[in-house]
Structure formats: C-alpha cells, structure tokens
C-alpha cells in the first residue's frame, strides 16, 4: 500500500469531466480532496491525497497524464522564515491539514512538514510574507 499527495492542474477542456470519479472507480484508489478550485480562466487545480496499492497508484497517475491533467512537479517544501514570522497564529486556522503547531504555553508557531501538503494557502495570506513555497 502506498500514499501520495499530488497537485493536479486541469486545463479548461477537462474541468467538466469526472476525472476523480474515474480514479476511484477504475483504479480503486482512496481519494482525499485537500483543496480544489477553478480559476476565473476556468482552469482547475486540486490537491489530492491518494491511497492504494503502489501498482494502482502508478496506473492512476498514468491515466491522469494521458487525459491531459498536469501533475505539478511536486511542490517540495514550505518554509517558515523565522526572522519574518511574528507567531501571531493567524495562519493556523486557515491551513487545511492543520500543519501549524502552536505551543499553547509560549504561543510559538512551528510547521509540521509531515502534515504540510504545500498547497500555498498560508503563503498567500501571511500578513508578513513569512512563508515561502520552494518548488522542487
């Protein structure tokens, strides 16, 4: 059994197709949609967690690529700039995977990289520009 987190980009022509449904139905993969959006240009992006036998995951990814879904060169890392972060805790509730850990005694914020899916939500909202996305 394997587990992967993927960032999928759907071109306009694919936005109306039930691609995730097929991923479940045809490859028997367990899907967890962590983030999904359609831009004003009608392109879609989605962050998904997939779980299943390694072989099936491979086949599923192959299917996605063949359909025209772009699998982003996976975002490697989100970095919290220690000099810029004020530990205000504003980002904490906005993170879809609860990857920010707050020490409730000192109110110090840290990032649990195992939980982080590098979706970029925190990068976008941090008032101090203290979070950076490092692309792989």
């Amino acid at each position: 059994m394997g587990k992967r987190t993927l960032v999928l980009k759907f071109p306009k022509k694919l936005v109306n197709q039930p691609i995730t449904y097929k991923l479940v139905k045809n490859y028997n993969l367990k899907l967890n949609i962590l983030q999904a959006k359609v831009t004003p240009e009608e392109e879609g992006s989605m962050v998904i967690g997939i779980e299943g036998p390694d072989k099936k995951i491979k086949e599923g990814i192959k299917y996605l690529k063949e359909t025209g879904v772009k699998i982003q060169p996976l975002i490697q890392d989100v970095e919290l700039d220690k000099d810029k972060c004020t530990h205000c805790t504003y980002c904490v509730t906005l993170c879809p995977t609860q990857a920010f850990i707050v020490d409730r005694k000192t109110m110090e914020v840290s990032l649990d990289k195992d939980k982080c899916i590098a979706c970029g939500i925190c990068v976008d909202v941090c008032p101090y520009n203290a979070i950076k996305l490092k692309l792989g």
Binding site: T86, H87, C88, T89, Y90, C91, V92, T93, L94, V102, R104, T106, M107, E108, D124, V125, P127, Y128, N129
Partner: protein, 401 residues
C-alpha cells in the same frame, strides 16, 4: 506602604529596582498575596505587537536647491501616496496608504503587498526610498518636480506619530455567512469556520491598568523598539465601554496616541503588513511600564487571561452594517486554547496579535528598566476615564443642501 514614581526611579538609578512582566506577576500574586507582592515589586512591564492601522510617520526632507514647496502638491514614496498638506518639506506617511495605481481589490481578494506600513518599515531599516513630488511653484519655491532617493539618516526629522494604538480590548471576529470574507480581522471562513482575535490579553498594556490610574498623557513607553510617549488618548477612545466586575471592558475601550523618534526605532518592531482582501497596515510593538504604587494597581496587573472577556461579533452582516450584536462573550484563556464554542459549534481560533512578541517586548522593557536605561515618567494629565462622559459616537449623516 504606597510608593511614588520618584522613589521607583531612585531604585532604578541605584540598580535596586524589582521588575517583572505582566505574566510573571500573576504567579507572584497567587503565591505571595497582593499585599506582599505590591511591596516587593516596583514595576510590571506589558507588551503588545499587533497591526495598528491608525499609525504613521512624519518626516522633514530638508529643502532642495532650488526650493520646492510640497504643501498643496502631490508626492509618493516608493509609489505609495503620502500626505503633503503642510509646509514646504514635511510629509506624513500613513500606514494604510497605497500606491495610486495599485490594483487594490480590483482582482478580489487583493494582495496589498506594499503600502504605507511597508514604506515605514523600509525607512526605519535604513533603505533608500524613492521620493517623487510635483508642486505648483511659487516665487519663493519655484521648483515644480522632484525625483530623488531619500534615506532616514539624511532626514531632519523622522517621527512615528500614531493616532490610535494599543486598543484596550478587541472583539472576536467570525463569519456567519456562507461565503469566505476578507476583513481587517483576517480571512474569515464561511459558516463559523474560524474565529480571529487581536490582543495580547493578560500582557496587553491597557488591560493591566483598566481604569488608567498610572498610564496617562506623558507616560514614557517602549515604541517600535525605541522609546516614545503617550501624547493623548487615541481616536475612538471609548472608556464608557461596558465592564465586568473586575473593571475590564468587554469590548473595544481605551486607545492611546503615541509619538517617538523613528530614527531610534527598529524594523523588527515596526512591520509592514498585508491583509489579503483588506489593505496594507503597520504592525507596531508597544510596551508600557506600570509602576506598582499600591495594592490596587498590583491587583490590576495580576489579571489573568481567563478573567479578561471579549465579545464575539459577526463580520459578514452585523459589523459592516454597524449592528451592535453580540454572539456571546469569551475569555482569552479559551481563545488561546485554539478552539472555542459558538452556537454549539467548535470553532478554531487564530490571532492577529502576537503573544510571543508581546512577551518579548515586555522582557526588553524589563531589562531596560533593570539596567537603568529607562526611567518612568509621571503622567501630566489622565486619559479620560469611565466617568468622564467620553464616548465613541457614530457618524451622524446629514443632508447636504
């Protein structure tokens, strides 16, 4: 026995002063009792580090050759509009100012990556800034255009002068609607998806002196890493706000106006801030020392997060329409735990104010006082208190004929 500020200053000069921060005093009073604590402790230091939009700085750029009169003209610094309605060489940079050509919320929600707060941060950190100005020209000030780099070290004056800072308490913001909203209290997720608050609770300056018995006009403070003074009560000062039995207001109440030499401040404690979908601002570090003159003042400084309540308000309908409706009261211990319950729903909490940095400020101020680098001042006038009749008024709109 009661102490005076003068006696405390003598102890500071001799290196005998006993200073603790507003978190440490809690345990001391719990263990020793308020009587003993008030005898032993001379000063309690407080702190806050939050976005404070009614902040700004004035600068005097010096006269150019030939001379140019900024007053009545237009100017930008790093493309951000600055105010020139003064004499020839004075400018005021407002924290919430934006570039004239900036997209603002045109592509909603806007990013507001650079505004007046960022100009102030860059200025204080010693960076060169681009000043552009257009003037109309007079006989004594003939020049009409200016395009130059400026640097804080060359300016005659650079003074932080904030109209409204260090709010005594602040409401908790939530969103009852079914769409995400972007406010000055941050991004609020639909259907009570999160709750944002914005004070340092038990460390916050005015919550430790709820009736303004020691903090007043002329009080010397930690401001933006340097020193400053309280000049007046802040705008929207509202001391008549409803209070609990412990004198702590349950909502926004007192505010202060502060001033200090920007040249002695630090970019660490004056941070340009971008609130997505809302605007740009400045996050300001303020610390106020409270002289423990008697038992009553000592008891006030021992206030705990769980004894400080604030009001929960909806920012989707009520706040924008100026409807004063409470969704309940909640204390800072609950807010700091990371989740609260509203309408039977568990709601995660986030803060815009940094408790960690507030504590750091209270400790820096503590060290300055202990080392004899910071003497206390006696206020020369009080802030309007709960019985002053001073009240926050809404705008009364009248027909223009």
């Amino acid at each position: 026995m009661a102490k005076t500020i003068q006696q405390i200053n003598e102890k500071i000069k001799k290196g005998e002063v006993v200073v603790v921060n507003a978190e440490e005093i809690i345990d001391i009073v719990d263990k020793k009792g308020v009587k003993k604590a008030s005898q032993e402790i001379d000063v309690v230091t407080t702190g806050t580090f939050s976005p404070m939009c009614s902040s700004g700085a004035y600068i005097n750029i010096g006269t150019s050759k030939p001379k140019l009169k900024l007053g009545g003209g237009k100017a930008t610094i790093n493309n951000v509009s600055v105010y020139t309605g003064f004499a020839a060489a004075d400018i005021y940079i407002g924290a919430a100012a934006l570039p004239d050509e900036g997209p603002r919320n045109k592509f909603y929600p806007g990013d507001f990556t650079y505004g007046g707060g960022h100009v102030i941060e860059d200025l204080v950190s010693g960076k060169d800034l681009k000043l552009k100005a257009i003037a109309y020209g007079t006989d004594c000030y003939p020049r009409k255009e200016l395009d130059t780099l400026i640097n804080i070290k060359d300016l005659n004056e650079a003074v932080l002068f904030n109209l409204r800072n260090a709010s005594q308490n602040y409401n908790v913001a939530v969103n009852l609607s079914n769409r995400i909203i972007y406010t000055y209290m941050g991004e609020l997720k639909a259907n009570l998806g999160n709750a944002n608050y914005c004070t340092a609770g038990q460390l916050s300056p005015l919550l430790n002196d709820p009736l303004y018995k020691t903090i007043g006009i002329g009080t010397k403070i930690f401001l933006g890493g340097g020193e400053g003074y309280i000049t007046w009560h802040g705008t929207q000062h509202n001391p008549s706000s409803k209070r609990k039995n412990n004198d702590i207001p349950k909502d926004t109440a007192a505010t202060i106006s502060v001033i200090g030499n920007l040249k002695n401040m630090s970019a660490k404690w004056l941070r340009g801030t971008s609130m997505k979908g809302y605007g740009a601002t400045l996050t300001v570090g303020i610390g106020i020392p409270i002289p423990i003159l008697n038992e009553e003042i000592c008891r006030y400084t021992a206030i705990k997060d769980k004894e400080i309540y604030t009001t929960i308000r909806d920012y989707s309908q009520d706040y924008p329409n100026a409807v004063e409706k409470s969704l309940g009261e909640i204390n800072y211990e609950q807010l700091k735990s990371g989740k609260i319950t509203i309408k039977n729903k568990e709601v995660p909490t986030g803060s815009l104010s940094s408790y960690k940095k507030a504590k750091e400020i209270s400790n820096i101020l503590k060290d300055r006082i202990k080392n004899g680098d910071f003497l206390l001042t006696q206020p020369i006038a009080s802030l309007p208190g709960p019985n002053s009749g001073y009240k926050l008024k809404p705008l009364k709109e009248r027909e223009v004929k």
